[in-house]
């Protein structure tokens, strides 16, 4: 830990709708962004469904909050780790996920992808590298 900055990981394990965990996790991420910590998000198990593109919640009467993920770059939240095995187990591929980009100030605002698909083993390494893990 340097200069009072901690590594925060928000672990998203639940489908976006059906329970409120995903939405209330995103609310923590957005508030937490104001604290200038080193933030990462992890998506595993049914949590990978949170990033699926073209979500339409009209018929279930709840708000579609998935566009908010695309705003995370503006909050300097640029590391979204997605577990490959969780995608595979659900018949999903990278093409099923929405495109989430961030602008790198240090490289003339080059657009870079925020989503990084990693293996389960790598996810374990990401987790063990953290100071604070909040699991939703």
């Amino acid at each position: 830990m340097e200069d009072g900055v901690k590594k925060f990981l928000y672990v998203n394990r639940k489908a976006p709708y059906g329970t409120i965990y995903a939405l209330e996790s995103l609310e923590v991420v957005l508030i937490g962004a104001a604290f200038d910590q080193d933030v990462s998000l992890a998506f595993l198990d049914d949590g990978v469904f949170q990033l699926v593109k073209s979500q339409d919640t009209k018929d279930i009467g709840v708000k579609n909050f998935s566009p908010t993920f695309r705003a995370l770059g503006d909050y300097e939240v640029t590391k979204l780790f997605v577990e490959k095995e969780s995608l595979d187990e659900r018949g999903l591929t990278a093409d099923d996920l929405q495109e989430i980009m961030w602008e790198d100030e240090d490289e003339d605002y080059a657009e870079k992808p925020s989503i990084r698909i990693i293996s389960r083993t790598e996810m374990a390494d990401v987790m063990s590298d953290q100071d604070v893990i909040l699991s939703f």
Partner: protein, 151 residues
Amino acid sequence: MDWRAQDHEPIRTYPLLGGDDLKFGIVVSEGPYTHQASDTAYNFVTAALAAGHEVPRVFFYHDGVNVGTRLSIPPQDERNIQQQWSALAAEHGTDLVICIAAAQRRGLLDQNEADRQGKDASNIAEGFRISGLGQLIEMGIETDRLMTFGD
């Protein structure tokens, strides 16, 4: 193959009892009586304090906010989860924070908020206070370990 059995760097372990005193931040994210989370958190906090550790704050989120209503009336022969927490706060000065966004969705209001929102009642128990999610992040920054009790 059981992926949990794959080779990883060993998970770091820390002495919880004995050794150096630690500052714990606690998150309770499931509702009382429905779920064991608030009971286990209470037992953990009690044990940690007894072992000489500090627990400056407990943050109640998701349905965990329901722990803080003073209007719950469990049967006489059951534990009263809210009263256990209120007593703990009174004895040890632990800051019991209920997330305002989660609380408003679920009908948990202090008198201030009831007045502001034009509601005819408030229901926050002694020792609890309503505040923002920033308190959760701050707790993560300022404690040595953050523990979540939930599903």
